[in-house]
Symmetry: C2
Subunit: 414 residues, 2 copies
């Protein structure tokens, strides 16, 4: 039996035990993992060093090495996050709804775990802890498939987690790592409907698309963000510029940062120059349409492709539009249904924008950077869903659950 099948089977058995685990048991396990991570941090850092050295030898980029790197502070952050997780409400067993039918049947809908979750991710060892703990809290078993470039770190972390699980009377197979990181094995995972209930890819757009395009196991998709700020004719200029700058520059590499500003033409006549200068002061390179090129200096002429590009850096595309209608049409054509903002003092424009823009989150007079499980107050985040089924937008713990109907009768037949 391959490692994948063997571990998948064990995960399924573990999932049945986890589904019955009490909140107290699960929280105890999370605390134990937190403690164990700190206790064994030297071991984890040593193993992480092996990955870092191999990465350097293989010419891994600085930014990838930084993602791969663990240190005392990062391990402390993971340990702290585990304690915060114990304080969150356990969604499992929650009553969603209950009612009685005229024939006397008592129907209840209760939250249950999904079962076994396959997590496919790139070279960030912190995802190993993050994914394991979120799955554990929600009573799911997890089968982790990380990058080969982080294999020593991941093996070390999972060893530490399993060590803690052993002490907490929960099956150690609740958290398992696939040590076989061949591509073919990942492909096998995509089709393992018999044992896996859900796949969650975490990483770049390419990884996610590979999983979405090839999986028959249902996928929790976290997508790309080609987000916009639209400034309408009534927008407060200072607020508009401040929000655009924040949404672009506060952390340009993340999916809820904006890639485009659309400016209504009358507002543009008065304030476009100011907006462009403000962006350029923050070292943002601007791709602009003709009007933008006429107004600003050093503007790169925007090509059609620019409207659909997720720059993920200090680059932005700026376009002048006629009105809110054109802005909405543009966003619905080029956006990725993630986060879209309108800066406006017009109730009418805001309502139209909120109704007609097809996105997980629509903002009025606020930065798109708030699309985040913690900023929303969920206390945890699995990712940000840009799909429409199951969960849309920032996903908290309930996104890792399903429901079950329980029906109590006294002999009812049809």
């Amino acid at each position: 039996m391959s490692e994948l099948i063997e571990k998948a089977k064990k995960a399924k058995t573990a999932a049945a035990v986890l589904a019955k685990a009490s909140t107290e048991q699960k929280n105890k396990a999370l605390s134990a993992i937190s403690e164990q991570l700190i206790k064994e941090q030297t071991f984890i850092l040593e193993e992480n060093l092996k990955d870092l050295q191999a990465g350097k030898e293989n010419g891994m980029s600085e930014s990838l090495l930084d993602r791969l790197k663990l240190n005392v502070q990062r391990i402390q952050d993971m340990a702290d996050a585990l304690i915060l997780l114990t304080e969150l409400e356990d969604p499992i067993g929650q009553l969603v709804e209950e009612w009685e039918r005229p024939n006397g049947l008592k129907i209840a809908q209760v939250r249950v775990p999904l079962g076994v979750i396959g997590m496919i991710y790139e070279a960030r060892p912190n995802v190993t802890v993050d994914a394991s703990s979120l799955c554990l809290k929600t009573g799911n078993a997890v089968l982790l498939r990380g990058s080969s470039t982080a294999i020593h770190s991941n093996k070390a972390i999972v060893k530490v987690i399993q060590h803690a699980l052993k002490g907490s009377n929960l099956p150690i197979e609740a958290v398992q790592l696939l040590e076989d990181t061949r591509r073919e094995t990942a492909s096998e995972m995509f089709k393992l409907n018999e044992y896996l209930d859900v796949l969650i890819p975490r990483g770049g757009a390419k990884l996610i698309q590979t999983v979405v395009q090839n999986s028959t196991v249902p996928v929790l998709e976290t997508g790309a963000g080609n987000c916009h700020v639209f400034i309408d004719e009534t927008a407060n200029p200072n607020m508009a510029i401040e929000i655009a700058i924040n949404a672009k520059t506060q952390r340009p590499s993340v999916c809820n940062a904006i890639e485009n500003v659309l400016v209504q033409k009358d507002w543009a006549s008065n304030h476009l120059g100011e907006l462009l200068s403000a962006l350029q002061e923050k070292d943002v390179q601007i791709h602009g349409d003709e009007k933008v090129q006429q107004t600003g200096k050093d503007i790169i002429p925007a090509c059609t492709e620019d409207w659909g590009t997720e720059f993920l850096g200090l680059e932005i595309a700026v376009k002048v539009v006629e009105n809110v209608g054109e802005a909405i049409a543009h966003i619905n054509q080029y956006g990725t249904k993630h986060s879209e903002a309108i800066i406006s003092e017009s109730v009418e424009n805001v309502e139209r924008f909120f109704t007609e823009v097809d996105a997980a989150a629509v903002y009025h007079n606020a930065s798109t950077r708030f699309t985040d499980g913690f900023e929303f107050g969920f206390g945890a985040e699995i990712g940000i869903s840009t799909q429409k089924l199951h969960a849309r937008g920032p996903m908290g713990l309930p996104a890792l659950t399903s429901t079950k109907y329980t029906i109590r009768g006294n002999g009812q037949i049809r």
Copy 2:
């Protein structure tokens, strides 16, 4: 441009209009369709006759011909169902939750349509009306892909629907039929993520699996039902037998009918003979394990395959088990996570069964035949989901919706 792409594009445009349609507008359209179906029933029946004749010439089975057949009563039933649908609450625009963050951001989660739904189904023209009306009520545009064997009926029905839509000021492209029924075109639909938000297959297990296995568009899966009744040692014999008979024979061809009875050995010692005779009196053919073969007459020896078979007819597999634990393990191994019942007077056994059986619906002392949107009181049913994401169990109107977060601020940045 192919018919598929052309209609998919139009559907996307129509979906944007439908998303804004008021409940009143949508209900008016549903009433208009109801009326139009009756008005043009002669035309529909004439076209249906063409399909029936072609079916007969091609040697279609009696049961398939019956599914294909329309008559005055069936058209009246469709028309009545449309009126009932107007009386149901409109989920679109409903506030799921709202809260305010410490920074003053006001977050609301509201129900929105999914967008464009691709419906792939077999030779039941009533699905054409059913699917169109459920999508319309929930503000979704639908692209219908029915069977070539029902093409005349479907074309006629969609013509009538579009006629009614025209009069109600909603885009006629809200409901479109693909007239190209080639297999390659359906396969193209599976990958049409650009225009389709969801695919819903309706029909046999084979059709559903083809869609699930080959689609990159998210699928709302309605699955097969290999359902069980487990009779434990405390079960009331009359109730147990009555429920088993009802769950098997009241309508054997549907997914919530049972295919298996598991009997605890002590109960079996006293009542198995009675159960077997009662089933045989209803012309049910019994596949049984050794104990069952010893107890009853004319029992077909059960092979391993029988435990996983959806007979969908007057056939059943019966097994004697040690206890509730063995019953649960058997169900979790062979079941399809649909509907599972325990007949028992033991609170402990019931709780264990409810917690440990992995199914969309678990029953205590009631027939599995109640797993149904109407029996649950939803007033409508899209199908019964056996998947764990998005919706599980009978799906009412909310299953055809997604949500959107609206965030209102006054200049908040991070």
